[in-house]
């Protein structure tokens, strides 16, 4: 288990803030940056890393979603439908992990992120928004876009695909300690008709449930070092508050390009790790 000292706490706080800032700018959460850092640089065991990262994901999800109620960016109904699948995936993640080899998991993860990255890149100039004040249906949504000031409506397409992606995201979330937004956001955006910002906000809302299902099991297993988890949570909270503001100002196109780039890097890192 990692030792608690003032310098370790400081490093964890700072890395949490950087990971939270990057993650919230992109709308995928900080776990995807925090997990490689804590595992590779700090040398923490993967179980402790995953538990710590999941705890930060819960904090981010609750804080960000509480701040966003009323903006209509979060699609509550869609989120709650998809949570059924994501929580199931998250619960089963612990079981799946015991039957699959770590290298195989890493290769699957690498392959999935590569495909999702390519999908994001291929639809970088397409917008999911409907023109005018049309009824978006029970699961669709409508919000005022900060970038243009106009009202934006969208309908949900391919709901079964969104459910499958949420299940996989929940599974990966438990196994690797990330929020799963890295899978859900691109799938919802590229194939299910949800605009990027609404996809990111809805995913951020859902990942609290996803991460809680996994984190509770890790915590029961004694894999959370309370002081270090607290440092990571507080660091990520601070970084998220700053990054969220940057994300609101950036254009949807540049966010998509950045997201695709991150996915390719993560895919390459995971592929390298699985072969090493």
């Amino acid at each position: 288990m990692p030792v608690v000292s003032a310098s370790v706490v400081a490093v964890v706080l700072f890395s949490g803030a950087v990971a939270g800032g990057l993650g919230s700018t992109l709308g995928i959460g900080g776990g995807i940056f925090l997990v490689p850092f804590l595992t590779i640089v700090m040398g923490w065991p993967i179980g402790v890393t995953a538990a710590t990262s999941l705890a930060t994901v819960i904090g981010t999800s609750s804080a960000v979603s509480a701040g966003r109620t009323g903006s209509h960016l979060i699609n509550f109904r869609l989120g709650m439908v998809l949570e059924v699948a994501t929580a199931a995936g998250s619960l089963l993640g612990g079981i799946t992990a015991q039957y699959l080899e770590a290298h195989l998991l890493e290769r699957i993860f690498s392959g999935v992120t590569l495909i999702v990255g390519l999908a994001t890149l291929s639809r970088v100039n397409r917008r999911n928004v409907l023109v005018g004040d049309v009824d978006p249906g029970v699961l669709g949504g409508r919000y005022v876009e900060a970038e243009s000031g106009g009202t934006v409506s969208y309908k949900i397409r391919r709901l079964p695909l969104a459910l499958v992606a949420s299940f996989v995201a929940g599974n990966v979330s438990s196994l690797l300690g990330i929020g799963g937004g890295v899978i859900k956001v691109p799938v919802l955006n590229a194939w299910c008709g949800v605009p990027l910002r609404a996809a990111a906000a809805t995913s951020a809302f859902m990942i609290g449930v996803t991460a809680a299902a996994g984190a509770i099991i890790y915590y029961g297993n004694g894999q959370l070092v309370p002081a270090l988890a607290a440092a990571a949570i507080l660091g990520v909270q601070a970084g998220t508050a700053i990054g969220g503001r940057l994300g609101e100002r950036a254009s949807a196109r540049s966010l998509k390009l950045l997201l695709a780039a991150v996915l390719f890097v993560v895919s390459a890192l995971m592929c390298y790790r699985s072969l090493a």
Partner: protein, 113 residues
């Protein structure tokens, strides 16, 4: 003239907004309380070293943090149930059951240690 369908749509939107505001409040309380305990707990740990009070604060903060999404889902079950929106009452109840299954699994793992 508003058609019955339009009225149903605007009723649904109004109900959704009330639910969102309530769920937002649950999340806000959870975040403020858990972050507060974690901050004080961490500061005390650094200032005084590991002790009973900081350890208790950190544990309470973490448990509260992990229970916040569970509380939000439980609140959703109640809110949709009160509005007789049975589809969503059932869906959110399934999510709650899945989370409780996680707690049960955690207790089982804990006993094995």
């Amino acid at each position: 003239m508003t058609s019955p369908q339009d009225r149903a749509t605007s009723d649904r939107r109004l109900a959704d907004e009330q639910i969102e505001a309530r769920l937002g409040r649950v999340l806000r309380i959870g975040v403020v309380a858990s972050t507060g305990m974690l901050s004080v707990g961490l500061l005390l740990t650094l200032a005084l070293g590991a002790g009973q009070v900081p350890a208790l604060l950190l544990t309470l903060g973490l448990v509260l943090l992990m229970m916040t999404p569970v509380a939000r889902v439980a609140a959703s079950v109640v809110e949709y149930g009160r509005r007789r929106d049975w589809t969503f009452t059932v869906l959110t109840a399934i999510v709650l059951a899945e989370l409780i299954a996680g707690v049960v699994a955690a207790l089982v793992f804990h006993r094995r240690l």
